[in-house]
Symmetry: D2
Subunit: 300 residues, 4 copies
């Protein structure tokens, strides 16, 4: 299938490369022209603008953009996708944005005769390169079945979450919980070690008890407890604290719009914000444990 | 081995019964004389007081008491265990109390020539009856090896956590995390469904993603998501919200003493307190999701 | 001076009426035509659109709008103020919006040759009717001096806060503190009375001690403590909880943009959100004390 | 009147000195014998123990002790006040402790025939020296009237709060609100200045608006805003953050016992705890604003 791909950042570039390697014919666009070179080497063709890309004869257009305003501009702008795309082309937005915007854009696409899927991913840049992402997909089941073979070239799990926007809902609900759990683990590990238990022993107790969670058993924030985790390499790589801050912001905004309280979620966001304000926003989000293991010069 | 057992409440009674069934000779005491009858039917002998029990020729004394003041009274009181127990008898306190008190009592026992283990349990009354409890044990490894065959008649997992008090530390650190995670799941499930995703779909996404945790995959607070969980039977049985409130209180108190911040933990405690103040303290703690799924008469 | 006035809602209508009564020649516009009738009775002329109003020969244009999107549309829209206004006309936006938008609009106005002031108010509909509002004003001092006699017809205190946007900054910082203080008073009054002190006695102690604040001495949330306060008339009138929720939202959003933590502020917002979700959003914000004085059927 | 005085710490010593200067005949005791010398120079006599002091012919005994355990020991201990005091002697405890203990001790005193008042103070060491303390008094009005002339030698305001324990209730409710308000002011000032307003201008707006409070107008945490406040002398002197932490601990404990939620209060306590854990516990509590004005090396 000939596929248009818009947005070749840290995530988009390796995803598009996997599509090219899987034999798909690609037409690509990025606001940064230089981003197209590596993809051209894999046989992809560059488009001069969103509009010219959208006007081509394509089976599908995939977008991978930083945030809601970019998604809005790329789809609804004057020279945007919906202004030029042919009816029937399937539109897949893999960006992580608020569900409200996702639904608004999907409705505009439907009105134009284009089925649209919101398909945010988890798995990070590692998963993007390895082609092992998880796609959380909102939209019509029929459209997803058509898109599935294409998505399968980029990810391992493709989960249908329901109608338009529910892919975004699943992503932000999961990350709300993740952001809370990680701080929960940071507090439990810090309290336990303050009180004299060995951190590896505490983690092993928790991991076989009711406190068990991904943030403890697969991504423990205490250095050395999980050898492969960012905590064991000075919190380099992984999922930046500033990205967690962005996702918790999406969750809190969506909650406000729905008048749904999220007390722990809002406090968790503030704790990452305090952490980011201290200059640590580029570290992996598990480094938030630094807010709990401070030196104590004044302690008797 | 002849064993003294003090404290035959909801947890202690089935634990002692399992010991009797395993062929141990039991001498038992409870402030409530009626609590002894079922155990007598299994061959146990009743002692008239803590002091007379402690004065007997025993290999081990096990206590299962409600809170720190009772533990202090039973061990350190005028007619308490330490006033009469013979040197060398192993003391095992299975109560959940603060680590500070556990260490103080263990030090007093050591001074008297009695090795002492703090051995709080998880698994609830179900685990106590089935003999499948987990023991989190603090104290000398040698004493634990002597106690292990006895504990094995009451529980399935026996984890050595380190020196005196670390069993309590492991328990309260795990439950701190559990209390936070459960509210995290409640917020994520409530936000997701408010935004239009099906709760079972959302749970299945979370359970295979980074939000995965025991509170979501084994004990989900949304009715019907996990068939056997308390949420699927109107939050009856399980682990009462008031007990979670007690354990979070122990965690916050220990944190204060150690000058260790636990921001989410303290807020979680308040959320259970608010829930308990509304009259729901006897429901399973997963019912805290009721604080998030309110009716909204004023909503347009 | 001939003045254009846009936005005749609960606040704008009485403000415009005071201008008319003070002898100013008014040209007014509101999206709701019916809103113009009472003003016409005071001699004001109706304009057919924002654009036709802006094109008139005026000394000043005042706007009083619900939120940022409306301000953006009225000033920057195709038929907006800046498209037609003559250079030199002073623009005064009395809406409460985010400082970022205020600065963006002020910069666009300056580029067109129009001095602009952001001038959000406090004092509520009571102050609007009585002409006793406080204006917190951001922008050039010279423009404020020209506007001052006009603002004085609507308000009693006119405070210059600094350059463009600082009027909004002062408003949201004050209301952030107000939202927190009110909950603080609610917690202190609820805790004190739970512990057996008379609420009037407690309030009088606080009001002469270090807990003293406007939320306690002038607007106490406990019924009967301050006779004229909303608490003493079933929380009718006053400043709606949903408006406090909006203002705390502005504060949290501005804080996020500035990467400035506001831990208590974010939690306070959630507490009003929880309160609003229960259907109480139209009550005065001091009614949030209801979240703390629940009935306790299960209490022994 | 001949008066016994127990506890000559930072607060007790100047209070007792004011009594001596007012012509009262004093018998004093402190566990630290050296503490008695300055008082002896004013004519006071030293007692050898609590018991011998209590056995003397006295009109009143006043105690000023660090916390509940000391109060319990001094009144209820084997050699304590109640073991030796003559019936009818009025007992006044000026310590700040939990209301529960205050009531327990008062009940024991009443059973012995001794009217007892809980009379915690505000005003700090400055107020103690100047004799300008505020006494918040719980207990019988008749006993307070007898005590009033004596208290008047140490303080300026003497407020009757109700029955036994209500003096403590008033103190902890006020300080709960104070601890919250100070952080509220810290957040509002930090947010405002982050967004570009001058701190002195912001404070002056707040102080004439609905955010007005003692923490802003008399004790502003921003350096230079209130010349005499601790913020203007590097947060030296004043009311130590660790003492605020202690008082918020009393409030949270009392709330837990009463099953009364205090969400902002519990979070405020954690914020002071985090601050104290960084080694700042001896600074004035207004220094908590340092948690909000961090350097931001990573900020672009």
């Amino acid at each position: 299938m000939r596929i248009g791909f818009i947005g070749l950042g840290n995530m988009g570039a390796p995803m598009a490369a996997n599509l090219a390697r899987a034999g798909h014919e690609l037409v690509a666009f990025d606001a940064l022209a230089a981003a197209l070179a590596p993809l051209a080497a894999l046989g992809a063709r560059a488009a001069g603008s969103v509009g010219t890309l959208a006007a081509e004869e394509l089976g599908m257009i995939i977008t991978m953009l930083p945030a809601s305003p970019e998604v809005r501009a790329v789809y609804l702008g004057e020279d945007g996708v919906l202004a030029s795309v042919r009816p029937g082309v399937i539109l897949v937005d893999a960006s992580t944005i608020d569900p409200h915007t996702a639904r608004e854009v999907a409705a505009a696409a439907a009105a134009r005769g284009n089925p649209m899927l919101d398909a945010p991913v988890s798995g990070g840049t590692g998963g993007a390169k390895a082609g092992t992402l998880t796609f959380m997909v909102g939209g019509e089941a029929a459209a997803l079945e058509l898109a599935r073979p294409v998505l399968a070239a980029m990810g391992r799990n493709i989960v249908h979450c329901g109608g338009p926007g529910t892919g975004q809902v699943a992503k932000i609900a999961n990350n709300l919980l993740l952001g809370i759990s990680m701080i929960g683990v940071a507090e439990a590990m810090s309290l336990g070690t303050s009180l004299g238990i060995d951190p590896a022993v505490l983690a092993s107790v928790i991991n076989t008890s009711s406190g068990r969670c991904w943030s403890s058993d697969s991504y423990n924030p205490w250095p050395g407890v999980v050898p492969g985790a960012p905590a064991s390499r000075d919190y380099a790589g992984g999922f930046a604290a500033d990205l967690m801050l962005k996702d918790l912001g999406l969750a809190c905004d969506a909650a406000r719009r729905a008048r749904q309280p999220v007390l722990l979620g809002a406090l968790a966001q503030q704790i990452y914000q305090q952490f980011s304000a201290r200059g640590f926003g580029r570290l992996d989000f598990s480094a938030v444990i630094k807010s709990y293991r401070s030196d104590r010069p004044d302690d008797a």
